[in-house]
């Protein structure tokens, strides 16, 4: 069995921008009110009344294969696990915030309570006891998916095998592990 490579697949057409993923993440991970580890971006309305389009792009830490945050971390607190998840060792993070600046996805925040940087962990603590990440588990539109893309029979592998997908800022050389499937606007859109 190949080494695991965890990834998110997000189906844009299924996202309804309810933000259940954001609230679920905040509660699961004790995120201080005012900060978030994940997001839903509203794109639109585009066009001119009454011909309009709008869709939503949910996201979180891209768990890059080549993470810029890791390179700038002076203490080695940010590291990449063998299963692909990018983590922060809270015990040795000194809160210098270089990584916050380095991340092209704005996926990190400074936690005033702990004096350290924080971000999405892929809910690794849930995943290894057999649960989905909190954001995925509660996704009303079934837009968010999580799994091992090195396993060809996993749901995420099948989704990216069967659909055209894109990743964000691929040109930065980050090789992000959040894949977006977008089947396009509905027919009423421009």
């Amino acid at each position: 069995m190949a080494q695991k490579r965890f990834a998110f697949v997000i189906e844009i057409d299924r996202c309804i921008d309810c933000k259940a993923c954001m609230v679920a993440c905040s509660v699961e991970n004790n995120v201080p009110v005012g900060h978030h580890r994940n997001w839903v971006k509203q794109i639109g309305p585009n066009g001119t009344y009454p011909i309009l389009g709008m869709h939503f792009e949910a996201g979180n830490c891209m768990h890059c294969t080549n993470p810029p945050c890791e390179r700038v971390c002076p203490t080695g607190a940010t590291y990449r696990r063998d299963d692909g998840l990018v983590m922060i060792n809270q015990d040795i993070c000194i809160g210098c915030k270089y990584c916050i600046e380095a991340c092209p996805y704005d996926a990190r925040y400074f936690n005033e309570e702990t004096g350290t940087t924080d971000k999405c962990t892929g809910c690794v603590h849930r995943v290894y006891r057999g649960e989905e990440p909190a954001c995925v588990a509660t996704c009303i539109g079934n837009s968010r998916h999580f799994g091992d893309i090195n396993d060809p029979r996993s749901e995420v592998s099948e989704l990216i095998a069967k659909n055209k997908y894109y990743t964000v800022y691929e040109e930065a050389g980050t090789h992000p592990a959040v894949y977006y499937i977008y089947r396009g606007e509905r027919s009423n859109e421009p």
């Binding site: 679920a24 004790n30 309570e113 009303i140 079934n142």
Partner: protein, 740 residues
């Protein structure tokens, strides 16, 4: 963006001033530290002595959500005696393992630093926010004394009771029935009176269900499932769209549902009726109706056909601003897709006094294409709480009330079901003293100062009353003006009576013991009943005894029920169209209503022109978002963090004409009120409409997160009651908008 330390002089509890100060300091500290982490809310709760008494130390508890009325199943995770996370119950048909953002934020209710902690009796003037902390004994004795004094002096009908949709509603109705008052207010007339009444008159039941699986075509004219989330139905819609269903959304605003639809039709408010009448016309004119179904299961087709003859798509185009070509296309596609097609009954359409006719037209449209009980069409839904053989608690019959109801039901509104009532009329009667003066108001889990149109009138009506008491989990706006406020345990801390859904039984049970000095509703009603001399109506020892009485006829113990969270009876009845009982006078689906005819109304759906705003006015639209439930969630930090206020949507062109830029402060002025808010300039709305999310603009200083955030539509809405269904016409208010 922190709103908590705003000007609020804190609400004052005179007897506990010192304790209170300590408490508010903790609250403010939590708010100022940009952190105010969720742990802090819990730590804060834990600070109050031994308040955290978990039912289990570590593990999972099945229960039911109460963040809206959909009642999803949940699984609460508990660690070291604290609730750490809520998940959707995978075995519950409403959640299917998922919770919406409000459901996920349930801990924000239980661990809200602003929770009501003890019973309070007012010491200052009404609305001054000065209360003294009292014991339950003192509070309940006082309430009973006041209610009995009113009963003695003015009769039981002088006490008004009101509540909103909840699992304890039956026990609440038990209290008012036993007390002997006919005056019962619910939220229903502010919501779906026209839908329910129209379906009762057409089908003989309240609401047809929808079969999303395998549906090919859906029309919405008000139900905004992507933002006003009903978990399972929203999930169903997303799946239906993914499976290629065509979705038509009639909405003057580009909602998130509209964004995911195949057709967004920005129709003129109040004219959906014209659209549906023209669809019926077109389907009959092109012979696309299901003749066999119409013949066998419906009544009054010829009368209908005669009436709709004049409602051509060209006629409708003039009324609703939708091209005749579009109406023809939707009518044809809908009829061809049928029976795998339905026009959703909605909760409310674009709400005018013609909404009853709109809902009738929708019911009739579905009937002529014969989608009843067909795959992908409409289907029966089991009534909640019915069947499944639950036991009940013995009780004597209620005293007979001879008094008229203050809301005019049924003597002025013979078609409005008693349990729906007309809330806005009830408020007006409190104000006018006609047909008689009310003297007391018992309010449970409700905030009428924010929900009923014309807040000023509601305040004036309250000023006429001798006694007001509110039971809630938070000092909502109405509680702030009450004489006695009782703290109820939140839904994660109490039992409610068992409920039945799709023939299965589900339990709401405490995950932790009630925090502070809050008490479960079942306990409160029993204790109050005892003091009112109505103990016989509450023959249960405690919450568990009540549930055990419900379970008695069934082969399951309370322990097992608690462990599983649900019980599936052995046999369930399958419904077929042959077994459907259309509970109408003819026993058929009434396209022409015999009852309407008997009461002197026109019996088939027909055009009623809605009023239009003047050149300088806008239609005021109001609606929901995924992150809030009515007036109840704005103090929940987990939700308000993501949706803190409700700016006014205005179209780019209308804003430009008035020199309004995005983010500018504007006045919104109706014929009854004026508010100042921020403008959200967008392409996504008809240029003759403005929109705001409902539920904001709280003025209770006891809600420190929500206090004065955004504005309340109840300051703007005018009161208009549909003469047939009693529904409040929420869209019939027109406003002027100008730069502040």
């Amino acid at each position: 963006m922190k709103r908590n330390n705003k000007d609020s002089d804190e609400i004052q509890y005179s007897m506990s001033r010192r304790k209170f100060l300590g408490l508010s300091a903790a609250g403010a500290g939590a708010a100022v530290a940009a952190g105010s982490g969720f742990d802090q809310l819990q730590a804060y709760a834990a600070k109050y002595g031994d308040v955290v008494r978990p039912t289990i130390q570590n593990g999972e508890v099945y229960s039911l959500c109460e963040m809206c009325v959909w009642r999803c199943g949940l699984v609460a995770k508990v660690r070291n005696g604290k609730i750490t996370k809520l998940e959707g119950n995978p075995h519950h048909p409403h959640s299917r393992g998922k919770l919406c953002p409000r459901g996920q934020a349930g801990l924000g209710v239980t661990y809200d630093p602003d929770r009501l902690k003890w019973p309070l009796i007012r010491v200052g003037k009404r609305g001054e926010g000065k209360f003294r902390k009292v014991t339950w004994g003192e509070a309940l004795d006082y309430i009973a004394e006041q209610m009995l004094a009113i009963k003695k002096k003015h009769g039981p009908e002088a006490m008004v009771f009101s509540t909103t949709h909840n699992l304890l509603q039956q026990q609440f109705e038990n209290l008012l029935g036993a007390f002997g008052s006919p005056n019962y207010g619910t939220q229903r007339s502010l919501c779906f009176n026209s839908m329910i009444t129209a379906n009762m008159l057409t089908y003989g039941f309240e609401e047809p269900g929808r079969d999303y699986k395998d549906t090919a075509y859906i029309i919405y004219a008000g139900r905004n499932l992507m933002e006003a989330i009903s978990n399972s139905e929203t999930q169903d819609l997303v799946e239906a769209i993914a499976n290629g269903a065509k979705v038509v959304v009639l909405d003057p605003r580009f909602s998130k549902t509209a964004a995911r639809a195949t057709d967004w039709i920005p129709i003129r408010p109040g004219t959906d009726l014209a659209f549906f009448l023209a669809m019926i016309h077109e389907i009959i004119a092109t012979d696309l109706h299901n003749k066999e179904f119409v013949e066998k299961y419906t009544f009054g087709f010829d009368e209908l056909a005669k009436e709709v003859k004049k409602y051509t798509p060209e006629w409708a185009e003039k009324e609703c601003g939708v091209s005749a070509e579009t109406i023809r296309r939707v009518a044809r596609d809908f009829a061809i897709a049928a029976p795998r097609a339905f026009a959703h009954p909605n909760w409310r359409t674009s709400n005018f006094v013609n909404s009853f006719q709109t809902e009738r037209a929708i019911a009739v449209l579905n009937s002529i294409v014969g989608n009843w009980n067909k795959v992908g069409g409409q289907c029966p839904i089991f009534g909640e709480g019915e069947g499944a053989g639950l036991g009940s608690i013995p009780q004597p019959p209620y005293p007979r009330s001879r008094a008229l109801r203050l809301d005019g039901v049924p003597y002025k509104y013979p078609l409005v079901p008693l349990k729906l009532g007309i809330f806005q009329n009830l408020r007006d009667a409190m104000l006018t003293g006609k047909p008689y003066q009310a003297h007391g108001w018992f309010i449970y889990r409700q905030n009428p100062l924010s929900s009923i149109p014309e807040r000023r009138k509601t305040l004036q009506a309250m000023a006429k009353l001798d006694f007001i008491t509110v039971i809630d989990v938070i000092m909502n706006d109405t509680a702030y003006y009450a004489d006695v406020v009782l703290p109820e345990a939140t839904y994660l801390e109490r039992y409610d009576p068992l409920t039945v859904l799709d023939g299965n039984i589900y339990i709401r049970q405490p995950v932790i013991e009630p925090l502070f000095d809050s008490k479960p509703g079942l306990w409160i009603f029993k204790e109050l009943g005892k003091r009112l001399g109505l103990g016989d109506y509450f023959q249960y020892k405690d919450e568990e005894d009540y549930i055990q009485a419900q379970l008695r006829p069934l082969p399951i113990t309370l322990e097992k029920m608690k462990e599983q969270g649900m019980y599936v009876p052995f046999e369930k009845k399958e419904e077929s169209i042959e077994s459907t009982v259309f509970n109408t006078s003819t026993g058929k689906i009434e396209l022409s209503s015999t009852l309407l005819k008997r009461l002197g109304h026109k019996s088939v759906p027909h055009w009623l022109a809605p009023p239009r705003p003047t050149e300088e006015e806008f239609y005021l639209l109001t609606g929901k978002v995924a992150l809030h439930t009515q007036f109840f969630t704005q103090n929940n930090k987990l939700l308000s963090d993501l949706f803190p206020e409700n700016p006014l949507w205005i179209h780019t062109s209308a804003a430009a004409q008035r020199g309004i830029k995005d983010g500018d402060e504007v006045y919104v002025e109706s014929r009854v009120g004026k508010v100042k808010t921020k403008a959200l300039v967008t392409e996504g709305i008809r240029p003759d409409c403005v929109f705001m999310v409902t539920g904001f603009g709280h003025f209770s200083k006891g809600m420190r997160t929500a206090f004065k955030n955004g504005v309340s539509d109840s300051d703007l809405h005018q009161t208009f009651t549909d003469p047939i269904s009693g529904g409040q016409a929420l869209t019939q208010t027109f406003v002027k908008v100008y730069k502040a």
